[in-house]
Every structure is written in structure tokens, then in C-alpha cells.
């Protein structure tokens, strides 16, 4: 990681609406945070696959206890919520404050479905006597999805903050950077799930 160009952080201060040319959506610092997070998860994926390599039979039988329907449902939920946030960012650039509010509210409502599904799934597992101490697979299952869930909770909080700012603040470049940065974080939550779902639920042993 090299230090970012010191002037780049303030590039967002020139208020010229997006021309689409090589302009980064969001704050450079937030992107450093996203990069660090992605790297941590990449290491966790590597560790998961290493343990799976050591005990493929255990990982396969344990995996079959998971319901891929719930995983796919959550993928659709996060993708849709991400899409709504991306639209909100575009609406903000057009200065359509009401549309931004509408899209962000919808994104949070759809996003809330992820928590419902996840809580149902966890509750179901624990009810069946499966915890993170059951075996190595379920340690990873609970730890990785749990860590991702914490990111999700943070993302929902960020969306709420963006919504509050949309209501309260004048829509200047600073506000737009906030919205873009929050949006990129939310897309990262989505992006990580796009790996977690196939890796944990769908790696079928041949």
C-alpha cells in the first residue's frame, strides 16, 4: 500500500458534476479501508480452503446441512439493495433529493431482509445443536458469515447516516463524497457475499 497522492483526497472538492473520466467514486481514504478489508477476507478465504483441503469429507458433509436457497436469497437481497444505492448516487448527482431519499429508504428496507434471513438461518442451526464449536467447517461458517454480518450491520448504519444527511444537508460536493463512499462500502458488503456464498455453501465435492 503506498501513500495516496496527497492532493487526490481533495479532488472531490471541485464540484464539477461527474464527467465519468477516471474519477473515483468516493473518498480515497475509504478505498484504503475497503482494500485492507478485502485483503483480510482474502486471507480468511485462503485459510478456509486450506482447512477444507485437510478435511474434504468433513467439509462436504457439514456443507450439506446448509440451505443454498437461503444463501441465494441473500445474494439477491444484497444485489438489489446495492443496485438501489447505486441509483441513489446517480440521483444525487442529478440533484433529485426526493429520489435519493426514496432509493436509500428502499435499499435499507430490502437490506433488512438480509438480517431476517441470517437470523433465521443462525437460529435454525443453533436449534439443531450446531454451533461454531461443532467442527472446523462450522467454525468457519459462523466466523466468516458473522464477520460479514458485522460489516453488514455497519453498512446499514452508514446507509441510515446517508439518509439522515440527505434530509438535513445541503447537497454539496462533501455530501456527494459521503454518499459515494458509503455506497462503495455497501457494495463491498455485497461483493464479499458473492465470494462467501459459493465458497461456503456450494463447493460440491466431486
Amino acid at each position: 500500500m503506498r501513500p495516496s497522492d496527497p492532493t487526490a483526497g481533495h479532488a472531490d472538492l471541485d464540484t464539477s458534476p461527474v464527467t465519468g473520466q477516471r474519477r473515483l467514486a468516493g473518498d480515497e481514504g475509504v478505498w484504503s479501508f475497503i482494500t485492507a478489508d478485502l485483503c483480510l477476507f482474502a486471507v480468511l478465504f485462503l485459510l478456509f480452503m486450506t482447512e477444507r483441503y485437510k478435511a474434504p469429507a468433513l467439509f462436504e458433509t457439514s456443507r450439506q446441512a446448509l440451505d443454498p436457497l437461503l444463501g441465494a436469497l441473500n445474494t439477491l437481497i444484497l444485489l438489489t439493495s446495492s443496485w438501489l444505492v447505486a441509483l441513489a448516487v446517480h440521483r444525487a448527482r442529478e440533484g433529485q433529493r426526493a429520489a435519493v431519499r426514496r432509493h436509500l429508504t428502499l435499499a435499507m428496507l430490502v437490506g433488512a431482509g438480509f438480517a431476517l434471513t441470517k437470523v433465521y438461518e443462525y437460529w435454525h442451526k443453533i436449534d439443531a445443536g450446531i454451533t461454531l464449536l461443532t467442527n472446523d467447517f462450522f467454525m468457519f461458517y459462523f466466523a466468516l458469515t458473522g464477520l460479514h454480518f458485522l460489516h453488514y450491520v455497519g453498512g446499514m448504519a452508514v446507509l441510515a447516516l446517508c439518509l439522515a444527511k440527505t434530509r438535513a444537508e445541503h447537497q454539496d460536493a462533501r455530501y456527494l463524497t459521503w454518499l459515494e463512499s458509503g455506497g462503495c462500502y455497501w457494495h463491498m458488503v455485497d461483493l464479499l457475499w458473492l465470494v462467501l456464498f459459493p465458497m461456503i455453501y456450494l463447493l460440491r465435492a466431486p
Partner: protein
């Protein structure tokens, strides 16, 4: 103005000193880098204490002495925020001092448990020695949140720096926030004796401790240049003040400048 920056250069260098002493004395002499695995039988830990008692005594004693250097370094960071960035609100710099100071407490207290194990290991049972070794790790790992408070408060302050080229670059600010938040993985540590979340695990030891070490080193290098810039700014401000005052006083005062 320059007066306010006195001592800070010294305090800044306390960070790397703390880190070096900790790695050598706490880590290597004290047998915590790498941690003795939690899934080893009690007898192995008992034997380790009996064989290495003197090394652990020296290691932990020195570590306790230098643990406070983390507070000294943390104070320099908080002062850079207070003098260089904050205006009418010192909440973040205050939190940064408290976070640094409170971090010293679990560092010192955990050393006492390891020291207690090394005090008379020849008469203590293996399981008691194992308990003491476990308690040390539980204390140092599970008190992570005080350090997170310091890291997040500092990060939030650094990103509010209005300078065109911030005193501490944004990536470093966000990296610190990320490290502080990533410490939550330690919450899983009490459940495991093996695997990546155990105290000797890839995530909960090798990653979490070393991203923190890197934060200390990386931040220190930026602190040195931040102090230089703050000193230059302070001198600039002082000479303008004097020049303005000089005009009022007259030619003699002006000539001495």
C-alpha cells in the same frame, strides 16, 4: 506557539522504543511470540515455566517498565491532533490519550500473570501454571477495545485535517480505523484452543498483532514529518505576529527582526 510542541519529538520516538522492547523482551524472552499454543497439555506449559523462569522474569519485568512508553507515544499523537487539527473541540484528542493510557493497563497486568507463573514454578502445579499463562493472554487479547478507541478516535481526527496535504495521510487514518475495528475478531478467541481464532492462531495472533505493530511504525514515520511541519507553521505564525507587532512599536523593534 513553538513552546506547545516541546517534548513531542521525544515522545514520538517512545513508540518505536516500546515496540522494539516489547518484541524482544515480552515476545522472545517472555515466550509470547509465538504464543505457546492453547491446545498443548498443561505439563508442557509447566515445563516451559520451570525451564525458562529467568528469561520470563527478565522479559516481563522489562516489558512492564516499557509498557508505559505506549502512553508517552500516544500522548504525542493526541497532541498533534490537538495542536494541528482540532479547533474548539478536544473530544477526539482526549479519547486518544485515554485509549493509549488504558492500553497500558492490560499490557502491564497480563505481564504480572506470566511473571507470577515464573516466580515459583517449581512448587506450582502444571494446571495452575497453565491457568496463569491463559489469564495473561485472555487479558491482553480481550482488552482490545481500549486500543480500538484510541485508533478510531485518531483516525477520525486525521481525516478531518483541512490541509491540502494532511499531516497524516488519509490512507493511514483509515488503516488505523480498520485495524481498530478488525480487533473484534478477538471476541472469538475464548472459544478456541486451536485454529485461526485461538491465541496462537493465524488471525488472532499473527494478523491482529502485526497489523497493530505496522500501524505503530507507519504512524511514527508520519508523526516525525507532521511535527516538522507543525514547527514550521508555528514559526511562520510567530514571525508574522512579531512583524505585525514590530510595525506598531517602531523602527528599532522592526530592525531587530
Amino acid at each position: 506557539m513553538v513552546e506547545r510542541l516541546k517534548y513531542l519529538r521525544f515522545l514520538t520516538w517512545c513508540g518505536p522504543v516500546f515496540l522494539a522492547v516489547f518484541i524482544v523482551f515480552w515476545g522472545i524472552l517472555g515466550h509470547t511470540i509465538p504464543p505457546v499454543p492453547a491446545d498443548l497439555p498443561a505439563k508442557d506449559i509447566g515445563d516451559m515455566f520451570r525451564a525458562e523462569a529467568n528469561g520470563i522474569r527478565i522479559g516481563m519485568g522489562m516489558a512492564m517498565m516499557f509498557a508505559v512508553f505506549y502512553l508517552l507515544w500516544g500522548l504525542a499523537l493526541a497532541k498533534i491532533v490537538e495542536i494541528g487539527i482540532e479547533k474548539d473541540n478536544n473530544v477526539l484528542s482526549t479519547l486518544a490519550v485515554w485509549g493509549a493510557g488504558l492500553t497500558v493497563v492490560p499490557l502491564m497486568c497480563s505481564c504480572v500473570f506470566w511473571l507470577a507463573g515464573a516466580y515459583r514454578p517449581e512448587v506450582l502445579d502444571d494446571t495452575i501454571l497453565q491457568l496463569l499463562y491463559d489469564m495473561g493472554w485472555l487479558m491482553i487479547d480481550m482488552c482490545f477495545w481500549v486500543t480500538s478507541v484510541q485508533m478510531i478516535a485518531l483516525g477520525m481526527a486525521f481525516i478531518q485535517d483541512p490541509r491540502r496535504e494532511p499531516l497524516i495521510p488519509k490512507w493511514m487514518a483509515w488503516y488505523g480505523i480498520w485495524v481498530g475495528v478488525s480487533f473484534v475478531a478477538e471476541l472469538l478467541m475464548p472459544y478456541f484452543k486451536g485454529g485461526i481464532f485461538a491465541r496462537q492462531g493465524t488471525l488472532n495472533f499473527w494478523i491482529e498483532f502485526f497489523v497493530w505493530f505496522f500501524w505503530i511504525v507507519g504512524l511514527t514515520t508520519y508523526m516525525v514529518s507532521a511535527l516538522r511541519r507543525l514547527e514550521a507553521e508555528a514559526r511562520g505564525a510567530t514571525s508574522t505576529e512579531r512583524a505585525q507587532a514590530g510595525e506598531g512599536v517602531g523602527k528599532v523593534a522592526g530592525a531587530t527582526l
